[in-house]
Each structure stands twice: as structure tokens, then as C-alpha cells.
Assembly symmetry: D2
Homo-oligomer: 485 residues x 4
């Protein structure tokens, strides 16, 4: 068996979405709706934890929010005025139910639930030390490290223990934590992963994206700021900033691909930034053609921008099936080689004999682009010009984004000419890194103090990478070993 | 519990898609792929029957093709070189597994499997007579009537029995039949429902739409013609036409909404016809506005046509979630009134302060249009003009399309002004019936001998409606009864 | 995988138990209890059909009554004052859900449900004729033949059609039928399979055995008589006898093994008949020994009878696990040869050095007896004498009992000496056929007009065997064929 | 819904059975068979952990061994030459999958799996202290305390850490532990719970009872001694005794009820001890009667002993259904009061008019005895004399046996006359405590230094009961509180 959606895998994947609601009867129902709106951030598993003033309740499930968290009995069992939830795409930690968040533990101070978007880049080193001292881990998730740091902290109050723990971890984290005393939402000092807050009546809401506020009918208040802990207790909200202040570096890929087009991140509409990138592409890499065709659906806004800037008509040259989820498995051996087009199909009547500009958001391994170009040619396209609405992806992410190892990134292996050949396009162009910053309203990327984390394009990582550095040696040995055998 | 996708239900629904493959080892795998490409024609259930030269094998399941027919064990159990399948959206017959097609029976001549797209409009009368004579029905499906007519026919050969049966039924049918002798594909004399044939090597393929040929890599040969029986036996294909010839009347709604945009039906590309309708709308019902916004996804081609003809920019003002299938249930009571936007969300940053033209394919009850207009206003639209890419839907369909009773059709109850008020739009216009025929390349609708079945718009039914006429009296009594109580 | 209960398969198996209740709110709950008490008569599948005055409701499930029919939602869905049910061990007809009874059909007269214990011995011939005339069968069950005979009968009333059908069938049947007019319980003219009636308040109950009356708290009224139809309509009971009267021949094996020891069949307590057989065995085949040991649990009553008659102490020398149902599968290949004793284990401390008499109810293939004797020897028994509480089983049953083909019956292949050698016993004896009749209070078997059907011992079948006779030729050819290849 | 087996609940329940195999390819298959033979010691859940030299594999399931651990895929996934398993009836710890044993943790030294029969009577106090120091518990099981004690021990080797942990715990434990270095089996210093060892070829086997050795074909070697640790490493076996030696006190209830009759515990055959108790009862409490009737199945051996000693015939007056497992749920409200007899049914034909002696193994709450006596009277018994094959159960067990709180023990509330009245018997007698010791070959109970733990009869607990003593005050407050409200 093989998965048949040939184009699904060539994206970086945001790993998680988180959502919390405090101060609303039946909070879990709000969380379910919010997680549903964040489903694009993680489709493998979901979980919700609620607190009813006495007990914590948790339900976790593999699969989508719909079908698991839309059942009355499930939601009713998640009693209480305060709840938080999580959708995940596996990052570190094999995907087993025990790794599905929110994670929960009973500490001396009572229950402790945590939902985490991001990745702790020194989790392995911390874990080894904790195990040495007698801590027993339940999961393989990096997030559990935070809980054990809290459990074994010598500080007295839960809040001090929590801050003590955060000061030991390195990497990216947007967190929603629930204790018997209330809810804490926080972002790492660099604000790598997003987190916003809103209100719905007296209810405080925290979410990875504004679209989740829209869906539950809440108003957007503001982003949780990098390095900020927002604490909701007894209906009151207060904010503390326990870290040394540093310049923020939010992940620029949220605008390129991760966030939904109807979300607004840090005052920038995702949809209009993507259109801007498309327009910028049309300026930087114009081409004479008959049609501008998006690779659906993520390429659509940039394609509209490109079409409007260039004056070439925007057309649906590739039709996307609504019925290809993550789960379709190709039946049988024989059909495997038929070039099945379950997910995308060429709109042959439109394309035949035309010069086309294809717009996609990014290229990771290049396998999708190759197949799309081929599909266009088989449908009779006269010329196929590929334009990519982000710079070449050359580096892995260690902050909660699923990236293949560097050796599999097309742009890490080949130059522009090599890539053009690889995908069999008549021409290929990426937006420049400065063009990307322009689409976000900057004059250009400020070398040395860039406003965003753009490490996947530039290799300029804003934190140390303890586990990665320690494992490199081991990995190299392991690879050597494999070669020898 | 209530379903939360507020816009899903305001469409006419094609009831079924069918697919057959004859002459290919592992035919069932091809059928699974083909059905997957036809999933938009019916999402409630699917089934495949194969014949291995000795035994027939059937697997039926509620739900989608993916998840049910993409498992190796299922496909392997469906052994044989010949197979056919069916996806359904319940028409007549409650949706239980025993109604899921292909239906199968052991007749004196051996196994007999049948997959049917359409509706037999005198099925109830025929059934009553068959039961009176001792036939025992297994399902509530109108299709089973055909099988019993074959079983009890006095003719000698299976083919003669089958033709005898078809001559007694009235209504719409595209059929794929399998017997130990081979496969028969046929369309009713008016050709109301579509059926095409293709080839993949030596394998003959039959399918409701060409997109299913594309997906399996087959070449499109031609349509099965109205009133034609195509018989594949021992790798040979022959065609017979046992009915009196009449002028064809294929369903015009296939171009409006049912078929996929990348399909070609009777030489007309669905996508370009839809764009034509949009352009025609821009000519018939122009408006001064800032943006043309499609109701996703079915309104997109007409919106592109409208935008290109009018010069008003095409923009994504409504974002559709990829994760709202048919199954999401709204959790909890309280959130029910929050105006949840699980399926569609306004792209607020784009719409605010703008005059917009909304393009949708059709209006059935009007409930969706009302909510969409309201959503646009809440997002700050200055004016909302609704344009519909089909004429007003005023009549029920009795040929295999799920339509509400007439009393629920908005256009059957209200005139244009009333409809405009109902949906709270600043203006509303439908394409004219002649405009629709123009989009299909005709000068206009030929009164008295129109080229298509357009009964849902005009009330001009191309066949008698025996069951409907007989039940009207009963229904009227029943309705009277309800009013009295 | 192999089943591990080595001793389970060496019994004839009663095929079915049936139970009906008419005139009690929530009748299905009574039926569930009744079927549970009849579970020993069939463990593969169960079903209940109820009628609520308007609709029939059916639930069928593979597996036991417990776990399937003890759920509130299942029972609540089986609404109505009248219900009947069935437990089955597959007879004719592969065991698929569609063969699980009660079978149901919608006839011109309305719904028709039927539960059947027995076997129609001319079902195949009748089926062929019905199919030739256009009837379509849903199952492979012989019982469905009766329904089609009713559906196609030329008589006017349902009752006349039903009697018309019964007059065409040959073989054994105890039936409970439900129609919108009420319940009909009947037995074939020879009364081969048992059926009793009882009352619980105003509720009429029909059941295969009295133990099912006990369990629901009903009083035993009388047996339904051979050839009698008992009709319950509007709370009234009436009886008709449409067949020519013949001498009854109830199945004698009900006393030997099928019925529960606490049931009373035709005025004879099963327990005391079995003790009588044991005592008779002690008289006919005495032996000098230290202990009388039953093969649990079916050998216990006869062992008590043997012990009391002989004065040799009764002891539990074989312990039966409570946790070996029909489903335990031996894990792994390697342990297959360890001589596992999952179901029975020797009470080694008791047996060592002793001369023992083993009592079992019957020998079919002899495989169990062989293993039991071996187990006793391995546990240190000095001598092992086997005594069997029925005559040698030499002939197949065609009346609803699962028997291996004759060639596999030990007693059909070997004489007493051969059998003794085969099971490695020091001695072996069966009760005589006259001894068996004595245990039932007769002086002896009345040659020519015996009071019971004892065909499995004597080969004296009380009916013609149409299907068997017709298929013999074919089978013989098939067997010949196998031998040649 | 209510459970319908009215007689199931009036027993003390052994909580667990454990089984380990070291040194056999496919060890898990042996463990599955062994656990199946120990199923009577715990039916709620089962688990197996194996070690393949590199990885530990665990499968846990609610329900029986059969149906969960007899599947090839399950057993194959439990790879390795060493495996241990556990069946449980919930003791401390709610029954959730995370409480099902073997428990597993990754310690600094590597994997650590543990299966435990018994109960740690100071687990709560130890847990509070461990949590205070930062340990996070995964389960509510008392067994997990041992793991955390090992994880946080300051000793250097795993064995020293394990002994350090055991020295801190109080109560009853038979343990099988697996580490990457091998298997450890041990019993608490008093040997309260049983544990035996056997050999099958080169494979070492540990099991709660000898019947599990029989079933896998292993020979019985000897009991693991109280306070002994048996270590199997690299195919070698060694034994250490790290505790101060004290006189053993094995649980006497193993002979009364827990162990299977075909097991031998500490050189005493369970079956013959039970017969001895029955004979002793006949001496201590004779009665003039017609029949001796066991309450099946646990009362059978004592009834045989009573019958042989008294000369009154042994008869099956109560028939037990084979098909009442733990799961049958009474369907519907109405039948609840019918006095259903799903599990046991009177053999009415035998009992009518007779004076009977009923033999049961013990009385806990008395509810079962009441119903059995009533059932005998309804079946027409002239006199009903109850004889119990153990002394009155007056005290709770804190060593891994499920006992109701003292206030619910019939013998803790009433004297003999009161109990006789409560169960409506004509007479009632229990075997004396000295009589029980006599059945085990002692002259009498040695006051001050009894050979067995008989605390449930005498209140003479062989250990301190830390948690119980600490919670008593709290419980008393809670009870007071309840009474006030």
C-alpha cells in the first residue's frame, strides 16, 4: 500500500495548534470549535483537557477534531469553565496516544495540564539528567520535559516552579497551561510561534491564529507578546515578563504557508501578504504567458497577486478533489503505476496549447513540482513556467516544524538551473528574501537583526541548538556505521 | 446535536455515480479509483461488485470510498477481471446497507449485479404488482424493481429479459449490469443521466463523468448514447438500440453544478460553460463594485467568468475550511447560537468597506445565501450584490436528484424582489434560461423541443411521472390530515 | 492458528433454539432472557424480531446473546408487545449475518418473520423450482424456502398460504412465526424438534426447552404437539391441526445431550433420564474400579447414576476451565505440540495409581475420548475404563443437527474392539439401544414403531430425504473424483 | 442496566495471577497459555510484556486472555525469549488501561517491567512522599510505588535499588520483574501470596499456581520461598534472601476458594483439602437429609466430601449456565423484578419434596445464600440446611483480595442465629477454624503462631497496615460527615 496523494508531502508542516478558553460554562465546546478552525496546523491527533473546579478531564484521539470532539457525550464529559486543547502533527515523539496533548500530570500542587506549539531544542539533554535523578517519563514528547522540570523544581509556588522550568528550556514554545489556580498562556522570549488572545463576553480565549477567534465569535484583543506570561485567575488577567528582553523573531513561514489566509498575524493579513508576494514575483520574474494557474489551494492568493500585477488571466487549470484527505491508500499493486491523479487533475480543455505560469507557495523536495509540471505537459501545455512564492528552502527547522533532513531539500542540493531541470519546467523562479520582507512591508531583510526567523531560507538560527549539536557526532558515527556494514 | 456546516444543504444533489471496468486483472482496483473521482456525486455509501469467472464478490460500506475501498484486503477479496461500482447519496430508499449498490441477485441464469444512476419514476406501481405476485424485495431501492422484472420475465435469454424489464420502467437511468456473460452499460432513451465510455489498454471503462477516466489514465472514447445498450462480452464490444428513438434530453444541471469542472460532458467542458454563464451574468446583470467574490468552491468558475467580462477584480473573500466534511456535529448546546463559521469564514481584511459581487451557482432554499450575505455585512462589506449562475430553481426533480419538496424552494414561493429581501442583498439576479442555453452554445432555449432536461427551472418534464401522480392524492390527504391534527 | 479446545468438537450439535413472547410490553427483553437460557442450543449467532403494532424491528448479531442483546439501546429499539428470537449453530447455509434468524420479508399481506429449529430436507429441490419461477433468495438458509412458498401461494389468507407452504416441505421444524395479525408456533407432524408453551401473566411464551420458561419466571403449560399450529391473536389462543395424524417421533438425543439437565421434555426430566442411563450402564457394563469420573460437564449426571448404582465413589478427576469458550485460539506455532490442556486438566493428586471409570455422553469421531484417556494415563491412572451413556453413533442426522459425514463417525468405521483400541482404553462399553429406551421408561425399543427418532443410532429415518438422495449421486462422483486426483 | 448474575458477587476475589517465562523462543505464547490457566484469579484485564534483547514490548487489554492474547499478530508483536504477564481483578487503582499490568518504565538502567500479585499496605504514604520530591505517577496502582522507589534509590546497581525498594514496602507481594539483565521472581517475607516455579526444557517458569505449569506442560520444581528472590540471568538461576527471616504466613483462603481444585499449593492438593473440609463439616454439623447439593461450581469438592462422610447422596440440584460470564447485562427495566435465574437454575424435578443440605465455600454479604435458599424453596424443597466450608468471614483483607468493607460482611454484623434467619435456612453451620486447620493436616490452629494468614476469619493481621490506620481517622470523619448531611 502506498499513499496516493502525490502532492501532499512536499510541504513544510506546522506541527501544532493550541486553543484555550477560561471563564465560560462548557468551555470544552468552545475549544472543540477553536481546534477545528486550527485543524490545518495538525491533523494527526487532537486532545482537550478541562477543569471543573475539582477534577481535570481529558479526552485524546488520533485523527481529526470532527468525528472525535463533536460528540455530545465527549464534550459533556469534559466538564468545567476552563479548558484547553491541542491539534498535532507529530514532531518529536512517535505518534502514540500517550504523546497526544494536552499532557497531564498530578503534581504535589495538584493537576497540571499543558498544550505546546513549538519544539524544545535541548529536551534530550534535560531528559537524560531528569531520568538520572529518578524521573520516569510517560511519553517521548519534548513537552514532558517541562512538566518534570516543574515537578522537581526547588521553588515554592507553582508559578515560580514554572518560570524556573522555562528558564532551563531552549527553543520555541507557545504554551497554554492549566492548574487548579487558572490558566497561563505564554510565548518564548523570541516569539517564534504565534499566540493571540481574544474575548467572548467574559471569557478569555487564547489561540494560535485569529481564525479560531472568528469561528467562535470572539473579538481579537492582541497577540501574547514574546517572553510574556498571561495569567487568568478568578476572571482576572495579569501579565508578567520574567525573561530578559530580546528582539523578537516570529516565524516568517506563517505568512508563506502555515496560517490560514483569513488569519491576521502581527497586524499583517495573511491573504494580502501572499498576494503581495505574488505581485513581487511578477515584478522580479516576469514571463510571457497565456494563463496564470495556481497549485491549489495554497498557491491561489499568490497566483491572484501575480495575475493582477502581470495582467495575465487567472484560471483554474488544476482541479483539486474535495475528497482526498490524508487517508486514501492506493488499492492494489497494479494501478500504482498508472499515474493516478486522485488529488489533482488537469483541466485539460483549458490548458491545451497554452503557455502557463504555475504558482506554488514553496518547494521542499521538489517531487510535487515535478509531477505537476508533468501533468500540465500531458494535458497539452505549450510552455510551463514555475514561480515560487518563497525563497529556496535550504535549511531544516528545529522549532516545531516538520522538515525533512537537509539532504532531502531540493534547494540544498541543486542551484536554480539544476532545480529547473529537475522539475522539467521551461523556467523557474523564487521570490527573493528581500522581496519576501517587502511583501511584509519592510524595505528589505535587515542583515544581522532581521525581524523574523527565516532560518529555513537563510540558516540564521536565533537560538542555540543543543540536542542537534550533540547528536550530530552520534549521527555521523551512525551514518559511518551504516556505510561500513 | 446539529450539523454545523450551514451552507452545505442548499444545493440540489446528484444522487449517484457509477463506474465499470471489463477486461483488466484486478478490475476492482480501477473501480475504486474511478469511484473516488466520482465521490462528489454521492458521499453516503459506496459499493463494488466483481466477478472472477465463477463467483461474484461484493463489498458495500457506508461513507466515503477512501477509508473503505483503499484497503488491500478489501480489493483483493474483490477478485476478477470485471467489476463495477457505485457511490450514492440517498434517493428513494432509506440509506441502509442493503440499499447500497451494486445490488445483486442470484437468478436462474446465475448472478446479476446492477449499479444505477437515476430514478425509476414508476417503481412503486411496479413493485406493488410484483409483490402481489410473490416477489420478495430485499431493499427499498427503486433499482431492485428492475431485477425482479428481469427475474420474472417470460423471455428466454437474459438479454431479452433485461430489455423486457427496461421497457416497463419509466424515468431516468444510466446502468452498469454484470452477469456471468459480461457487462452491459446503458442509458434511458432520453439520456437524462450521463454515461461515458473509455479505454485503458484492452480494458473497457464506463463512468458517469470523464474525470473518472482521467484519474485511471484511460482515454475518453465517446458517450454511451441515449437508448443505447453497450455489451462487452469476451473482450468484444457491441451495441444495440432496442427502444424507439426519441430526441435526447440530458440534464442541464450537470453543467450548472453536478459534474466536476474538469469533466467534459457531451463535448462541452464543464469549466468553460460555467465561465460562460458567469460572463453572461455580467452582461445580463452588471453592477458597479470593487470585488467579485465566489462562494467557494462551486461558484469559482462563474466568478472568474464574471470578473473577466466585467473587469472587476476576482478575490477570495470567503475562505473555505478543508476540514469540514459531512460529519462535523456541533458540540454542546450553548455554542449553537454563536453563528459558528466552521465551513466558511469571511476574509475580513479584504472585504471591509468594499462593494462586492457574490457569485453562487444556484439558490435552492435560500438559507445559505442569507447567511453568506450576512457574513459579508458583518465583515464590513459596503454593498452586497448576489449573482446566481443558473435560473431560479422552481420545480422538483424526479430523475435521481435530491430536491426538497416544491414548497421549500425559494423561487417557487417568492418573486425576485421577495427573494432579494429574503437574503438581505442590495441586489440579486439570476442568469436567464436563454442565457444558460447560450453558455452551452445554443442561440436560445428551443421552446417545445428543448435540447436539455431543464424541468427544475421550467417544470417541463420529459416523461410521465406515474408514482408522483398516484401519490399526490395520498400526499394531499396526508398533508390535510396533519393540518387538521 | 488452531482452536485449542481439543474436546469441544466431538459432539453432535443441536442447531438452534427458538423463543417467542406475545402480549407483554417490552417483549424483546423477555426474548433476550429466554434466548440466553437456550444459548447451549446455538452459539454462533442470535437474532430477535419484534412488532410494535405498526413496524417490525430486527436485530441480528454474530456471537452470544450476552454482549449483543443485553444492551438497553438494542432492546429499546426492539419495541412492541410481541417478539421472537433465535440462536443458531450453522446448519445449512453459510454463517453470514443474512442467514441469522429470524428471517424477515415483506409480503403482500405485510411483514412476515420466522424462526426455525430443524432442517427442511427437500429445501434445495423447492428452491430450484422457486428460482425458476422468478423468486430471488436473500440467504442460503433452508428456512427462506418456507417464506417464498408463502409469498407465491395461490391461497387467499396468510394462514392458508402458510399451511400450503408447510404441506410442501419435508423434514423437521419447530417454528415461531410473526405477522401483523399475531404469532404462530408449530411443530412438524412427527414432532422431531421440541417446542413448549408457557404463560407469564397474560403473556404466552413459546420456547425450545422448559429451562427458558424457568428463567423468565413463566409457568410451563404443555408441549406444542406434533403437527399442531398454535395461534395467538389479540390475546386469544387457538389450535389447529391441518396435517394427517401420524405417530410422533421426537428426537431421542435431546435426552442424551442437547437439552439442559434442568429441562423437562415430554414429561421426562433430562437429569433423571441421564442418571438412569448411567445406572443402566452400571448394570450392563460393570467394572471393578476405585473412582467414577465424569467427562465434564455433560457426563456428570450419568456418572452420578453410575456411581450410585455401582457403589464406586464419584470424584472430580478432570477439572474444566470456566474460561474456555468457543473462541480461544492457540497463540503461536510452537506451543501447538505441547499437549495444552486449556479446557480440561487432570486432577493429578486424585488419579495417581487409581483404577478409574470414565463416563461420557457420546462418542462421535473419538478424538476427544482418545485425548481424555491419554490425559488420565499421563496423570498416573492404573486402569481406564470408558463407559458411554448412549449407543454407538453410526448415522448422520438430517433434521437440524450438525453431524459429520458418516465416514468420520468412529462407530461407523470400527467395531467395539476397534474402538477400544483406537481410544487406548482398558475397556469400552456403550449403553444398549434398549437400555436407552428403558431409561425413558419404556420396556424396550418397539421395532417398526419406535417412540423416538433414533436414526443417528439405528439409521431408521422417519421421513424421506429428498435433497440427500438427489445429491448422493453427485457427492459420490465428487468423492470418486477426489480419490482419482 | 444491572448485572443479572445474582450470585457472582458474594465471594472474596483473588486480585491477580502472574506468570513469567525465561529462556524460550516465543516466550509470550507460553505466557498467554499460562495466564489463561490463571484466568480465575482475575478477569477484568490482562497484560504481557516481553523483551527481545533490545526492546520491551507490551500489550494490555481489558477483558479476558482469550479474545485478546490468542491472536497471532498480538503474540508475534510480543517478541523475545523472556516474557511475563498478569491477569487482574481491580484492587487499588481504578481499572483503566494504564493500571493494567505489567507496569513498565524506562529507568536510567533501561527498561523495567513488573507484574504484582498482592497489595502494598503503605503505598499511599510512600506515594505522597515520592510526589513531594517530584516523582510523577502514571497510574493509581500501588505497584507503581515500587518502580519509583527503584528509580529514585541511591544504590548503584539495579538489584540493590530493587532490594532497597522492597525493604521500604509493607504488605503482600508476589512479583515477577523483567530488566534487560533478566527476570527476578520474589515473594514478600511472609509469603502471603503464592508463587511457584517450574521448568519446561531449559525454560524457567514462574506462576501463581501449579495449574499454569500443567497447562503449558512444565514440571513443577518448587515454591518460591517467602522472602526469596529468584534471579534468572543468561540461563542461570540463583537465589538470594535479603530480608530478616520470619515465620511464613501463606493465605489460607487459597485452599478455601481462590486456587483451582487441580492446583497443589505448598504440598496440599486443593481438591483434597476441600473434600476434607466437607468431611469435617459433616462431622461437626451433621443433619438428617435426602440430598447433598453443591452451590456450583466452587462448592462441589466440599459437597462430595460431605456426601461421602455422611452417606447422603450427592446430586446436582442447581444447574449452572455455561454462558453467564461477567458481562451479561439485564435488558430492560421490567424484567428486573422477575427473579431471573440466568446463572443458576433449580433442578426442580429432583428437589421437590426433599430435605436438602446445601454446601457453599463461604458467605460474604449473604445475598447469594439468601437467593439460593429461596430458589430451593420455590422449587419445592421440604427443608434447606446450609453448610459453609470455611469459618465466618468477619474481617477485611488488605493483602490483595477484594473484600467489602467490614460493615457489609454478614458475619461481622450478625451471630449464627441472625445469619440463619437472614438467609431463611432451616439450619446453618460453618466449619470451625480448627476444623479448617485440620483439613490442612494440622492438629489445630496454633494460637500466637498460626501457620497461615487467616486474618479474614480471625482479624489477626501479620503486618502493620499503615495506609489503613492513617485513613481510618479520615474515613471516620467522612462517614460522620455523610451522616450529618
Amino acid at each position: 500500500m502506498l499513499t496516493t496523494h502525490p502532492f501532499d508531502d512536499d510541504h513544510l508542516h506546522e506541527e501544532c495548534g493550541i486553543f484555550g478558553a477560561s471563564g465560560s460554562e462548557g468551555a470544552a465546546a468552545l475549544v472543540a470549535l477553536g481546534l477545528h478552525a486550527l485543524q490545518h496546523r495538525g491533523q494527526e491527533a487532537a486532545g482537550i483537557t478541562s477543569f471543573d473546579g475539582r477534577d481535570f478531564h481529558t479526552h485524546r484521539a488520533m485523527g481529526h477534531v470532527a468525528g472525535n470532539f463533536d460528540r455530545d457525550d465527549v464534550i459533556r464529559a469534559l466538564a468545567g469553565d476552563i479548558a484547553c486543547g491541542h491539534v498535532r502533527y507529530s514532531t518529536t515523539g512517535e505518534t502514540a496516544l500517550r504523546n497526544v496533548q494536552p499532557l497531564y500530570a498530578e503534581l504535589q500542587s495538584g493537576g497540571f495540564a499543558i498544550a505546546h506549539n513549538g519544539n524544545i531544542s535541548n529536551a534530550m539533554r534535560l531528559r537524560r539528567e531528569l531520568v538520572r535523578r529518578g524521573s520516569i517519563f510517560q511519553s517521548t514528547s519534548d513537552t514532558e520535559t517541562i512538566i518534570h522540570l516543574v515537578a522537581t523544581s526547588q521553588y515554592r509556588t507553582l508559578l515560580d516552579k514554572f518560570i524556573d522550568a522555562l528558564k532551563q528550556v531552549e527553543g520555541a514554545y507557545a504554551l497554554i497551561v492549566m492548574t487548579p489556580d487558572g490558566m497561563i498562556a505564554c510565548r518564548d522570549p523570541l516569539g517564534i510561534r504565534p499566540l493571540v488572545m481574544g474575548k467572548l463576553g467574559d471569557t478569555y480565549i487564547f489561540a494560535s491564529e485569529t481564525v479560531a477567534l472568528d469561528v467562535v465569535g470572539a473579538t481579537f484583543e492582541r497577540s501574547v507578546e514574546p517572553g510574556e506570561l498571561v495569567i487568568v485567575q478568578n476572571g482576572e488577567l495579569r501579565s508578567i515578563r520574567p525573561f530578559d528582553q530580546v528582539a523578537a523573531r516570529p516565524c516568517i513561514f506563517e505568512w508563506v504557508y502555515f496560517s490560514r489566509p483569513d488569519s491576521i498575524v502581527d497586524d499583517h493579513s495573511i491573504y494580502s501578504v501572499r498576494k503581495n508576494i505574488g505581485a513581487q514575483l511578477a515584478i522580479e520574474a516576469p514571463v510571457e504567458a497565456d494563463l496564470v494557474i495556481p497549485v491549489p489551494d495554497s498557491g491561489v492568493p499568490a497566483a491572484i497577486g501575480y495575475a493582477q500585477e502581470s495582467g495575465i488571466p487567472f484560471e483554474l487549470g488544476i482541479i483539486r478533489s474535495h475528497y482526498v484527505g490524508r487517508t486514501f491508500i492506493q488499492p492494489g499493486d497494479k494501478v500504482r503505476h498508472l499515474g493516478v491523479k486522485l488529488k489533482h487533475n488537469a483541466n485539460r480543455a483549458l490548458i491545451q496549447g497554452k503557455k502557463i505560469v504555475l504558482i506554488d507557495d514553496s518547494i521542499v523536495r521538489g517531487t510535487t513540482s515535478l509531477k505537476i509540471v508533468q501533468m500540465m505537459r500531458e494535458a497539452g501545455a505549450a510552455e510551463v513556467h514555475m514561480r515560487i512564492a518563497s525563497p529556496p528552502t535550504r535549511h531544516s527547522c528545529f522549532y516545531g516544524v516538520d522538515t525533512p533532513e537537509r539532504a532531502k531539500l531540493l534547494a540544498a542540493k541543486l542551484d536554480l538551473g539544476g532545480m529547473t531541470d529537475f522539475i522539467h519546467a521551461d523556467s523557474l523562479a523564487f521570490v527573493s528574501i528581500d522581496g519576501l520582507y517587502k511583501a511584509l512591508g519592510e524595505a528589505q531583510r535587515a542583515e544581522g537583526r532581521p525581524k523574523y526567523c527565516d532560518a529555513c531560507f537563510t540558516g540564521d538560527y536565533p537560538t542555540t541548538l543543543t540536542d542537534h549539536d550533540e547528536s550530530s557526532a552520534i549521527d555521523q558515527l551512525a551514518m559511518l556505521d551504516e556505510r561500513v556494514n
